[in-house]
Symmetry: D2
Subunit: 346 residues, 4 copies
Amino acid sequence: MIKVGIVGSTGYAGGELVRLLLQHKEVEIKWLYSQSYLGEDYHRIYGNFFKLLDKKCVGGDINDLVNEVDLIFTATPQGYCSGIINEELLSKVRVIDLSADFRIKDLDIYTSWYNLEHKSPEYIDEAVYGLCEINREKIKKTRILANPGCYTTASILSLYPLVREKLVDLNSIIIDAKSGTSGAGRGSSVASLFCEVNESIKAYGITSHRHTPEIEEQLGYGAGENVIVNFTPHLVPMNRGILTTSYLNLLSKVNYFDLKEIYNKYYGNEYFIRLLEENVFPETRWVSSSNFVDINFKIDNRTNRVVVISAIDNLIKGAAGQAVQNMNIMYGLKENEGLEQVPLFP
Amino acid sequence: MIKVGIVGSTGYAGGELVRLLLQHKEVEIKWLYSQSYLGEDYHRIYGNFFKLLDKKCVGGDINDLVNEVDLIFTATPQGYCSGIINEELLSKVRVIDLSADFRIKDLDIYTSWYNLEHKSPEYIDEAVYGLCEINREKIKKTRILANPGCYTTASILSLYPLVREKLVDLNSIIIDAKSGTSGAGRGSSVASLFCEVNESIKAYGITSHRHTPEIEEQLGYGAGENVIVNFTPHLVPMNRGILTTSYLNLLSKVNYFDLKEIYNKYYGNEYFIRLLEENVFPETRWVSSSNFVDINFKIDNRTNRVVVISAIDNLIKGAAGQAVQNMNIMYGLKENEGLEQVPLFP
Amino acid sequence: MIKVGIVGSTGYAGGELVRLLLQHKEVEIKWLYSQSYLGEDYHRIYGNFFKLLDKKCVGGDINDLVNEVDLIFTATPQGYCSGIINEELLSKVRVIDLSADFRIKDLDIYTSWYNLEHKSPEYIDEAVYGLCEINREKIKKTRILANPGCYTTASILSLYPLVREKLVDLNSIIIDAKSGTSGAGRGSSVASLFCEVNESIKAYGITSHRHTPEIEEQLGYGAGENVIVNFTPHLVPMNRGILTTSYLNLLSKVNYFDLKEIYNKYYGNEYFIRLLEENVFPETRWVSSSNFVDINFKIDNRTNRVVVISAIDNLIKGAAGQAVQNMNIMYGLKENEGLEQVPLFP
Amino acid sequence: MIKVGIVGSTGYAGGELVRLLLQHKEVEIKWLYSQSYLGEDYHRIYGNFFKLLDKKCVGGDINDLVNEVDLIFTATPQGYCSGIINEELLSKVRVIDLSADFRIKDLDIYTSWYNLEHKSPEYIDEAVYGLCEINREKIKKTRILANPGCYTTASILSLYPLVREKLVDLNSIIIDAKSGTSGAGRGSSVASLFCEVNESIKAYGITSHRHTPEIEEQLGYGAGENVIVNFTPHLVPMNRGILTTSYLNLLSKVNYFDLKEIYNKYYGNEYFIRLLEENVFPETRWVSSSNFVDINFKIDNRTNRVVVISAIDNLIKGAAGQAVQNMNIMYGLKENEGLEQVPLFP
């Protein structure tokens, strides 16, 4: 049994992590850390856990708490995880960080997009970017796993084969993304009230969303050269789900099956990536509550562009599920252990 | 492995049944029967099953199909199941019927509320009403299991102890129920379009909903005398969930803990019934995607009434989940096998 | 032109008031008072007003501001309006208060349900409860108009004829009410976040909601004796609308048309009350964005109860619209001036 | 008073037209034509009209019905309007067609995208494309007004100044559009059921949506040369609203205010087009229930693209409202007559 502790356990991603880990047969949850809800029964914060999880939120010194566990998850704001990482802590536990602290290798880019000084930059190199299907080998041994962002997971996975194979103009990439509201977190804010979100759609973070450099860095590794993208997120009146619609200029005449073969080469054996049948396109409802990534695309012969569409559950493959998948890889477990749920519909 | 066939597999309850059974480790799904989608890949009807279930919908003579299985589920319109039941069929398979055909023991009441002639009335007596927590012993051996309705499950379970213990005036029972829209089924109809349901709430079937006699009959068995209730269902703009708010006149002065003791006597050991803590009330989000029934109540000292509230997922404890729970009982499996999911939130 | 000022202009009821008054041809809005948004352009708070209303929120001493206007609306928390009312203020302006401060005549009841000391109890008697269809004559001349609550408007109007005519057992009244989420206001709170409200329904304030004594007092005036009711509100995942479903024991055998005649006697000439045709029941979508109250009922012969259903838009007839209707009455305008919008659908 | 008849009055666009025209003080509705609901009270089809509109749906020969009116609106499927247009009919009435029959000047394009033979191609030249802000002069005198599509209105209006002024690469235009569900119409279909749409987002009509050639033709007129665009619509779980997010490569270095000046040149005096303040972006909630078009943009210096965002109410500026605006222009009325509603929120 892997003994785990969860810091930031009361946000939506934290709650989802608790749910997945509670049902994971190789894991024992030792503690749930929360400064905001210190001492409260966890099931009073999330009523779904009533009679299923009998724990109170703990606080205190994280350096003590790590003595009880093998692995910690930090589902915390930017800046927390980089503030606790040091040799002593890493001598006791491995860390899966759901924040952005260790996602970006270029420190200047981190600093400028996040407007934060990084507190343990000496560990950035060591940390592994946990996009499982791309970085599986490196993930196995890392002590610090940087769990990817929600938009980035859907964006990168759906475009990686095209970029890697140099099939598209790298200057032409436009990603138009749509997210459910759980991505905004459980903090109270007028902008996330039911009446503000319901019956409306809006773009936000136009040209400036923090997932942009993360997408660019990873696609850049794939391409072997710099990639600059337009990334525009939108808020959709639904709880869960991310849909990305990406537009890329093709460098040569290819047809659907040419590209499908490329995608199959990369993902044909991946359990969590479902390449849909021709003319069937991803919809968030078909992946909701699961760790699946649905991908398909269509070639527009009139403009010689390819439109690539992907769908994930932002709280699962976009956060907690991918964190569990990373844990499974790190501990040599079956990669889909605890993640085999059939998506729930309706 | 129990070999099962599902008739009416393409409605919402049918789809949920497929999902639960596919993840049930003692079950093998042999066929999915659907007249409307004959020959189609099941995953083209419900995209969540893509790569997880590779079956096409079958049709044909049910009398032949039953040769391949031990158990059939009929998630079909009223009148179908009663039309296929006979000694020969029952010599081959057991039947769990999710329709109303065998729920009501009084044939006249069935006929008048459903406006249908029953095609195999001689089997009504033998059929067992599958409200697991009440009828567990009878369920074990039955060949014909009448799976309860969604509203009825929530209504009966939440009121049964009060009625059985004669704590309330049996002439005072009022049940105001609210349901998500999946209860209306997957048939195309203007009334169930997104724009008709969204941003509105309505009552329907006022004084005439067909779940009324089912509630009355079962509560009547509990009370040992006739029970007549006011039952009013409402349509709520959400996919899943039923909330019941019931109002009953208390026959004597009792306090919260007196009643809690009674509820504990009936349900204290039931895995699927969660009696919430004082002043915490059921909300459908905390049971959604699970087989749980959350129950609590409050005494109104000013009127000497008790207000009882319950919440279920209408497609699970209100349909497919309870059907699986019944199957587990019928086959001597662990009662919560395949039904241990922590409710999904948000 | 009536010159008006609006205090508490940035809540949902305040915003609705601004919208209605801006389109009212006998009204000039002089100022919008808001402590939270002092100095901000109103259209930055509510983007719908961009290019339509060019005002900034003001603060400062209300006693000065009243010099500029004839009438003020207070869409403020309990305790504000009673704190500013005095002879000097009333010598300058009339007041329409959307809070509960002057709704309840019995000071002890106000104090105990609201847990607040009333700051100007000497004005309670003078204030008129602004349920237009019931109190029209008194409304005309009042200086202090207590605008009714949202739940109370729907509850009282739909039950008043039955209670007044003594057709029902006054001890049997049960009101099960369902509201859209705008009723919870625009303050930031976790409980009102999109993800907490969406895909769920819950009861709240069970046996203890503050609209209970308001309903009881007014129905008591109608009946000429004390009335005690069970009132249970529910939160529904939609922006607007209140539906009430009430259950009352009939004192004698009556049929639909007997009762319809009674309702017609009271409301047959009321523009804003629509008595629906037999077997057509109120749905919130049909009154949304309007000041209408839709009412109908059904007699349950099996239990000799009548089920009464009503629907309003909680922000309009339940708040801002009724306030405007009261203003129209107070100033001798056409009662539906500025309130003739056809309900918006879908 | 303009006497009007409405064909196709029972769809969502038709219902919205009835609502707007009923409140328009220069219009008298003479008849509502509907084959599906022939003889039914209109308020039984749309309950919002109860007591406000006392008409039954009529059928019969349109050539007779036109004798009673000055103007007909056809909110009908493609092919209907082109089937009734002839000299005799046009000698009696003017026609505002909300279908696509007369929107596209190039007959081959119409035929190939709509897969329909046009029944009165000789009238295509005469018909005027009713994008009010662009074609105002031509609209005044036309007998046949082709009312633009919903997606097209938002797309064209938001991009027209950039294209007309040759500020962008005409081969680079990508339009990612998101629509509420009322755009799918009121016909019963599984795909539009509440449970299918709620809690999901999907793209559809990828590279093949019929509004594409309409956008291309009109932008082409603006540019004075052929324009080919990528247009991808998405279905969003809300009733009303369209948001477009468009991506265009700038041909030179310009800043926000350079472009704002251009937009002001075209739209600075337009009542219905609101150019938002810098860094405030359109959201559908701020235009809902109104005829406004909100537009803003942001320049991405990293990619030298401009991201243009627009929002409309699809049933109003995208259908019925624009039709009324066109009528106002055609009959020399104040252009915003009957269309001055402040958008409703929340």
